[in-house]
């Protein structure tokens, strides 16, 4: 008997991962999944219809009123997607591994030949597939904004890429909490703690830094352009760790500077290269996702002592 290494290819994992199959089978069984999807879409449509009607009654068809309505509808759907990604995706995965521990099915799985990476990927894919389904289902609603003229293709594509990347990272973060913690309750608390921190904690830190440095400016009088440029870079980098901030800032830069990537700005007479935060966001979140994935696999592989 030889010891064949069981390294599943990505394709194999995607196509016939037993964990994904099992999870999807039980999640899609019965009507619950479809009821949730239907209610979600109905709710979103109703909301958008109300916005549209409000603008129609105030400014009539055509003109800038429709454009504004398009913008607002796009933003509303985006807000819903952000909420889904930051708070629903980790909740889906936070119970994935700890639930197996609580139900005493984890040991059964760990004595099979299922590799830790296949297990982690299977759990990730099954949780993500539903979140991604909800996100993609709302894209047609967003496209209404095209018809109204308030939205460019770049805005739609980049926002959806950011949302999807964030979905993967937040789902993996939930999975990591689930692998670390013994109970689902602890995993969910840790997952929400982390999600709340990157969503509201980092802006809070940014505000604090601004206040402190602002105070420093006042006491020292003027600061050099280098200090100010450095602080600007710091702010951009910090905002690239935050999904709403990245979306808002990238949109603002697109509107004001008319660029998706770089632009120059004059700081105290010096012209400085600045950047739109979304590529950095993708880079940082992809890196975090990779590290979280490795950590998950390491935790699942570990033999308890």
């Amino acid at each position: 008997m030889t010891n064949l290494p069981l390294k599943p290819t990505l394709w194999h994992t995607l196509r016939q991962n037993p964990v994904t199959l099992k999870e999807l089978r039980s999640r899609m069984r019965g009507r619950r999944a479809f009821v949730v999807l239907t209610v979600y879409l109905l709710f979103m449509s109703l909301f958008l219809a109300l916005i549209y009607l409000a603008y129609l009654t105030t400014s009539g068809p055509g003109g800038s009123g429709a454009r504004d309505a398009g913008k607002i509808m796009f933003t509303a759907v985006l807000g819903m997607q952000i909420f889904l990604v930051i708070f629903i995706a980790p909740a889906f995965t936070a119970s994935a591994i700890s639930g197996e521990k609580e139900r005493q099915t984890y040991d059964l799985l760990r004595t099979t030949l299922l590799s830790p990476s296949a297990f982690v990927l299977g759990k990730l894919l099954s949780a993500l597939s539903y979140v991604v389904l909800l996100i993609l289902a709302s894209v047609p609603l967003q496209s209404i904004s095209f018809l109204l003229g308030g939205l460019s293709p770049e805005e739609l594509i980049i926002s959806q890429i950011l949302i999807l990347v964030a979905a993967v990272t937040f789902a993996l973060y939930g999975l990591y909490c689930s692998a670390r913690m013994k109970t689902t309750l602890a995993a969910i608390i840790a997952a929400y703690g982390g999600a709340l921190f990157v969503t509201f904690g980092t802006p809070l830190i940014a505000v604090l830094i601004t206040l402190i440095t602002g105070a420093a400016f006042i006491t020292t009088g003027t600061v050099g352009w280098v200090t100010e440029a450095t602080l600007t870079y710091l702010g951009l980098t910090l905002s690239a760790t935050n999904l709403p901030a990245t979306l808002v800032l990238s949109e603002t830069i697109l509107q004001q500077e008319n660029t998706l990537l770089f632009y120059t700005q004059s700081i105290r007479g010096h012209s400085v290269w600045l950047f739109s935060p979304w590529p950095l966001f993708i880079l940082l979140y992809a890196l975090a996702a990779w590290l979280l994935y490795r950590a998950c696999v390491r935790h699942v592989r570990r033999i308890s002592d």
Binding site: N3, L21, R25, Q104, L108, L109, I303
Partner: protein, 314 residues
């Protein structure tokens, strides 16, 4: 390869607690070994180390020739494990449950269908194939879990208290099932608290007490090991004093008892062999002691168990 399990100097400590103390044990291919011990003896700990779920503090364990720490995947391929406590997934049909685990063992989909039917037939759950697992009774779940351990046709089954929580009839059925599996050529290593119940299925037993192996061998060997101190009952006509005086001076007689017995009876423990015992009877007869009966107390298996595990577990 005749030893499918080879355990050498295996120890497991949880802080100060020694759950397993320098365990040495080998199990032959094809054997059915009962692993007996009171609560907390370390049976589950041993099995979790063998099934690659737990890291030993020291020592080595090899299964089917593979070291459990160095080569866990090869070990997992060779064993089917049924834990003492286990859960089942909700929202899953009986056949899906087996299909899922077969997939986890990389069994190709084409061969799974026939195999699932065979396994369900073996554990007598064929009629439950399309039902949800959560709707099964405890005994059925236990049988389903046993079927699950067989999906990849392992050589060795490690079953942690497979009969716990079952009613008497289901316990008998479980025993029959073990016998059937033995006939299929499986080596079975299973734990239990009740020695008498499993004695007739086992080819050998290993008795564990507070992390120490106190006996290992077939049932007869273990019985003989105990006969070092057999208990003899004697009844005689009239007074027992002459016999008491005789026995007090005879070699091999220990722990003579007359209290709480009728005036014509006594009991003693004897450490000699059959020859010495026969000589003792002849001496009594030659002293004209009127014996009515002279019999050795049958140790039943529970006594064996209790004697071997004198409550060392705290």
């Amino acid at each position: 390869m005749s030893n499918i399990i080879e355990i050498e100097g295996l120890s497991k400590r949880y802080g100060d607690l020694v759950a397993l103390n320098d365990l040495n044990l080998t199990i032959d291919q094809g054997a059915v070994v009962g692993f007996i011990g009171p609560n907390g003896a370390g049976k589950t700990t041993t099995m979790r180390i063998l099934t690659t779920l737990l890291q030993p503090s020291s020592g080595t364990a090899r299964v089917a020739g593979y070291d459990v720490a160095q080569n866990p995947d090869a070990v997992r391929r060779a064993i089917g494990y049924m834990p003492d406590f286990f859960g089942v997934y909700d929202d899953m049909k009986v056949w899906e449950y087996l299909d899922f685990f077969a997939a986890c063992y990389d069994i190709p989909p084409a061969t799974r269908h026939g195999m699932i039917d065979d396994l369900l037939g073996l554990v007598d759950l064929g009629h439950k194939k399309e039902q949800y697992v959560e709707g099964l009774s405890r005994g059925m779940k236990q049988r389903l879990c046993l079927a699950r351990t067989l999906t990849h046709d392992p050589q060795l089954l490690i079953l942690d208290e497979p009969a716990s929580g079952l009613d008497p009839r289901a316990r008998i059925e479980m025993r029959e099932l073990l016998r059937e599996l033995q006939n299929m050529g499986k080596t079975i290593f299973f734990s239990s608290h009740i020695l008498s119940e499993i004695a007739d299925v086992c080819t050998s037993i290993a008795i564990l007490e507070a992390g120490n192996l106190v006996a290992h061998g077939n049932i007869e060997q273990i019985r003989r090991q105990l006969r070092a101190n057999r208990t003899i009952h004697v009844r005689l006509l009239g007074e027992r004093e002459p016999l008491v005086n005789l026995l007090q001076t005879s070699p091999g007689v220990v722990h003579l008892q007359t209290d709480d017995l009728p005036a014509d009876s006594l009991r003693f423990d004897f450490s000699g062999d059959d020859v010495a015992l026969s000589e003792l009877i002849q001496t009594a007869v030659s002293h004209h002691i009127p014996l009515v009966s002279f019999r050795e107390e049958e140790h039943d298996l529970e006594d064996v168990f209790l004697q071997l595990t004198k409550g060392v577990v705290n």
